[in-house]
Amino acid sequence: MKESNVVFTWRMMLLAFLIPPLLILAIEVTFFGEFKGLDSGVSFTRFANATLTAFTLCSLFLLGNLFFYGESRNRPLAPLVGMIMATGFGVLATVFLIGQGPMLLEDNGSVRAQAIYNIVHMFVSSGAILLSLCVALGATFSAITSQKQRSSFELEDE
């Protein structure tokens, strides 16, 4: 496949991924003339909390993966320290930014309550994401396997 074709394919796939939310936006604007129910302040708070929590938890997960990487490299300390610093940065940034005031506080009264809520919220969102991945990939696989088996070689059919 030519490079320009590959870029086009990727763009089409990205557009296909974004079509459902874009359609909802279009319907909302057409029928209500505004994004009904969208509170930009609350949405930003959720976005920022999700970013910080995802960064911290994902760094923690990748830190765990470094142990497997270390097995093939005589257990070096440098990358481990690097990822511990990245995770620590995530934790400190979360605590610092939540502690700045109501900007990142949702319906919680303290930094600790908000941080715990963020983690539990992330688990629930991850569960929903995992289930939708299972459904989409499983449905694709089911659609492929439900068709008649095809031969890869024309000679085999002769």
Binding site: M13, A16, T53, G127, L131, F141, S142
Partner: protein, 269 residues
Amino acid sequence: MNIRDFRSDMDEMLQALLLFWIPVSMVPLGVWYSLTSSPLRGRFLAFTGIVLICLSPWTVPSSPSSAAGHLLGAVIGPCMLIVLGIYLISFSGNVSVGKLPRSDRKIGVLMAAVGFAWLAGMHWWILTPQIAPDEVNPYWNVFWPTFLLLTSCLASCSAVTLLMIGEQRKTESNIMFIVSAFSFTLLLLGLNLDGPLVNAGEFRQHLWLAVADMAGIAIGSILSILVFALVIYTYERNLPDPESITPPTDSELKQVSSLIATHLGGEEE
């Protein structure tokens, strides 16, 4: 053991730690353990963790986090039905390995349909997860819009991928467009039809929050992966060059040639 007495003797934070957070940590630990050393013990650990999380609304009712355990208990049934149903549909088709009987296809379709109907019944019927009478579990409002929107997005992406990368995959692509349209229709219904406990306005608010949530998760995860790649790249780049070894001697070259010669050619059929 009397749970009530046990509860009153403990600090609330300690209760949450022992009866919610330790079971939560048991799940990934069990999965990791089952993949590396002992599958049976690992699975048992993960299963015990899941059971304890599902029991957390009764064991630690004071902790707001236990609402997540309540949601897990409420959705685990339909989710398992959907996943098992899709598994049965997939492997009763044309697969080379692990093929199931053709009759399993109907059972799979039925299981997946019941799973979806069950989840839909949680929004538009009396099955809504409630942590108290007429009080919807707050995490249900996170789970349901996220699941519907992402399923629609991923199915649409999969349909276009099948069309553009696959060869003669139009039928399969159409099936995926139908899955995407089905999920999208449920979203539109949620935006316009009130359920007994969740109204359309609330669903609309939570849908936008789900979009913000998914965008945040994507950006946070990508940033973390970039940092991870940077750490590995920096470390590998600072490693000293490997030591050069001396070229092979004549005797070593002769030995290699004789070995290659014995493995070349072959008998005529």
